[in-house]
Symmetry: C2
Amino acid sequence: MTHSIYIALVHHPVVNKRGDIVTTSVTNFDLHDLSRNSSTYGVKGCFIVTPSQAQQDMVAYIRNYWREGKGADYNPDRKEAFEALYISGSLEESCLTIKKAHDKAPKLIATSAKSYDKVTLFRELREEISNTEDPYLIVFGTGWGLAETIINSADAVLEPIKGPVAYNHLPVRSAVAIVLDRLLGQ
Amino acid sequence: MTHSIYIALVHHPVVNKRGDIVTTSVTNFDLHDLSRNSSTYGVKGCFIVTPSQAQQDMVAYIRNYWREGKGADYNPDRKEAFEALYISGSLEESCLTIKKAHDKAPKLIATSAKSYDKVTLFRELREEISNTEDPYLIVFGTGWGLAETIINSADAVLEPIKGPVAYNHLPVRSAVAIVLDRLLGQ
């Protein structure tokens, strides 16, 4: 396995129900689920992106509990999962961290429940990443999804996940699991 | 779409870290995530299985909040998702409910992170359910997984989900999302 896939969970800028740009709160379950998803699929790092210092401190506190505190003794598998968790003030900062590690900026892949003109199909991206060690950052939005500024600045937007019916309101935790499975599952 | 797929999230009998048979607590996030996964993939019903009356009451309280309470006004999509949520005292009770609706007992499909001798492959089950309206109940365990009694009494055990690396400690919420996507996704 040679891929260099990273994921980011963005809490700002995202939209709320009315389409306003907001900052959402970090959800503890997201930290656990995304860390475990990342470890299962060999993702190099999972960035929790929030500009709020208080929220960043909370994520660091939880991460340390599982990496070095009582949680690490109680559940070594969880300790391993949390090793992949990074904290970032912005998506730009996440990209810089990846660029430093790989000497190359990551290709930014946005995700959305909506379909856009220039979507990349899952099978296209799966094929592309299987043939390169170049870094990729797959970006997921909390709330009602990523702000248009992120969608517009991305190198590609992934096609939406579709089930056999019209309903499409997956939790972001599920979307991350399904996207990683479609791109990296065996 | 003609399939009649149901899922069950079992809180008893499941095993803990040491392999003891235990009853786990219901997790609020599971109710939301599994309801939304079910609605996305056209699952006919999602059974929350626990023998504890207090836990059943709590699930009913949460379900009613989103189906008929303030939650239903605030988020109609969540209301729709929670329509698929059922509460059961046991897996036998879930099977009876399905049998009453279809005049036929469901085929019981167990899931596990471990591999068993007689596993059914995802592509085999996907093919099978695409050709029938017969009911199926796909069973997921909380804690450290389903008790052996359930595995042994199931009609089939699904192959474990594998990523490209050795780590395999997915949250049950992620496992449900990935299994439904592999069986019913487009």
